[in-house]
């Protein structure tokens, strides 16, 4: 462990990380946000899920520094009288959880399909990659919207909202796997020709074992690189779906549904319900994007364009 840590300290990644103030700053912000999101039940002043502490008379209070603001609620309250700061913290926790879950799922599907496609080649490869192309051409957000709309109509709104978290993970996971499949396939194609794979085949290992045990560890680094950006994408997708009413319900708000509930009241001047969760969401996605850009430059400058 100690040895590994020392090797990491001498690595190029650590060296360029230290020298890049943007990377350091965005990593610190991301770390801070994730910590406060995970610790939400401990540090949040109120529990937004506890109906007994919510008073509807407190609804739509402005932030504490404004004239009508109350000192009990730093960022004001939302339309149901929940403390906005606490609700945001809990909301971000949900967003992070859904985002990471969805990325794990899409990485799993994508890696399996990418490995098979790259290793098998031929017809299997052609069919799988055509499917990925076609799905990508419909854009991941569109696919996610359509799947969630179908689910919502199929299950009914009430049941959908109860199962919203696992459903959202599945929806976003299924919608975005082609990115991983393509990346994994590309690096598998590069590895497949190498001698160690031939050697493994000569000693008679099964294709499954060669794929998972031998090729995958060497093909994994681009996967890690795109994972950062994919988390940002997943969080954005979740926010977009929740905003359209196809995601988290208002009773268990994520950042997106919080923005949505605030939007209905923006015409009456309650801007804070929309703005604060919005800023939090943007900062969260922005630091992940900045980190992802940096990581992409360091790990593999020729990975993909855009």
């Amino acid at each position: 462990m100690k040895h590994k840590w020392r090797r990491f300290q001498q690595s190029y990644v650590w060296y360029s990380f230290k020298r890049d103030p943007v990377a350091v700053a965005s990593f610190s912000v991301l770390f801070f946000l994730i910590v406060i999101a995970l610790l939400a039940p401990v540090i949040a002043p109120y529990n937004p899920y506890d109906m007994s502490v919510i008073d509807i008379m407190d609804a739509e209070l402005p932030p504490s520094w404004m004239e009508e603001g109350s000192r009990d609620f730093i960022f004001g309250t939302d339309i149901q009288g929940r403390d906005l700061l606490s609700t945001m913290l809990y909301g971000m926790r949900l967003s992070v959880f859904i985002g990471c879950g969805a990325v794990l799922l899409q990485a799993f599907i994508g890696i399996v399909i990418g490995l098979i496609s790259g290793y098998a080649g031929g017809k299997t490869d052609a069919i799988l990659m055509r499917i990925a192309d076609v799905q990508l051409s419909f854009s991941t957000l569109m696919v996610a919207i359509v799947i969630s709309a179908i689910f919502q109509v199929a299950f009914g709104v009430g049941q959908y909202e109860q199962m919203a978290v696992p459903l959202l993970i599945i929806i976003i996971g299924v919608a975005e796997w082609p990115q991983y499949a393509r990346t994994v396939r590309a690096s598998v194609l590069g590895e497949k020709k190498k001698e160690y794979v031939e050697a493994a085949r000569v000693i008679g290992l099964s294709p499954g074992r060669i794929m998972v045990g031998h090729i995958l560890p060497n093909a994994i680094s681009p996967v890690l690189v795109i994972s950062t950006i994919q988390v940002a994408n997943a969080v954005m997708s979740e926010a977009a779906l929740s905003f359209m009413g196809l995601g988290m319900p208002v009773t268990k708000p994520s950042l997106g549904s919080l923005i949505n509930s605030g939007f209905e009241y923006i015409f009456s001047g309650s801007w804070w319900i929309t703005l604060f969760p919005g800023v939090l969401l943007v900062v969260f996605v922005l630091v992940i994007n900045l980190l992802g850009d940096w990581l992409r430059d360091v790990m593999n400058p020729k990975l993909y364009k855009g």
Binding site: V134, S137, F138, A240, F243, F263, I266, G278, G306
Partner: protein, 324 residues
Amino acid sequence: MFAFVVRRIAQAVFVMLVIGLIGFSIKQQIGDPVRDIVGVSVSVAEREALREQLGLNDPFLVQYGRFLKNALHGDLGHSFFFKKPCLDVILAKAPATIELVLVSSLMIVILSIPVGMYAAIYPRRWLSRIIMGMSIVGVSIPVFLTAILLIYLFSIQLNWLPSYGRGETVALWGWNSGFFTLDGLKHLILPSVALSSIMLPLFIRLIRSEMMEVLETEYVKFAWAKGLHRWRIWLLHAFKNTLLPVITVGGVQLGILIAFTILTETVFQWQGMGFMFLEAVERSDTSLLVAYIVFVGALFVVVNTVVDVIYGLVNPTVRITGRS
């Protein structure tokens, strides 16, 4: 080339069949046409008779075949809520969405090309750094948030622009256009700015990175060595080759733009297809939902096929690698 086009079209037809199959299975699983037609007081026996009459007891594939035949004749079913054929409802809403997409893509093209080129030609200037910094911030702001902030700033605080709806429209051969009235144009500004805000940074970054790569190539260096005028090199030599990848990505981005119209239209209560789609979901109007999926799916497939064929015309290597 001919073989390439044929193969591409065959693939498009196959994708449409799959989309039709998905749409049809949704209808089978969720929608109940009998419930849509009859009231509560109709007896079970009568329902069963109606079922038989409508052919709902036929095998799955027979019904699917009928669904495809009807779809080819432009019959995508009846909307439960609007009491009209779904295709009529969609076609009535389509102009609003198309106008929105048109204005946004125009804004994206007009702005992203010069800005992206500038950032590629002078990557070290402070203005380029600001552009790139802004673009990554722009990518990180969700389109609905941009839309809300625009409404808050320009409609509520400054009261300059209207916040929702399409305003006054003029009917031109059945096409309700907002292009010809001042009110309609005013209503177009905020939604199209919001819609283009998500794609503009992506295009700027794409054009910049492609152009920077092209500027490094040998033939551009040779053009410099020949002493050609810099504008000639930038526009005729470098930019022309930047366009190739931009066209392919552009086709895909159109799909993303249509997905984002759903978001933009919700915020601005824009009476287009996206708004209609979400309303259909809320009302469990399965026929309309399926019709939207099939319609938009067809739109995507046509656009992607056309883009691919154009790309095949411009870049012969695509045709050859596809053959393998």
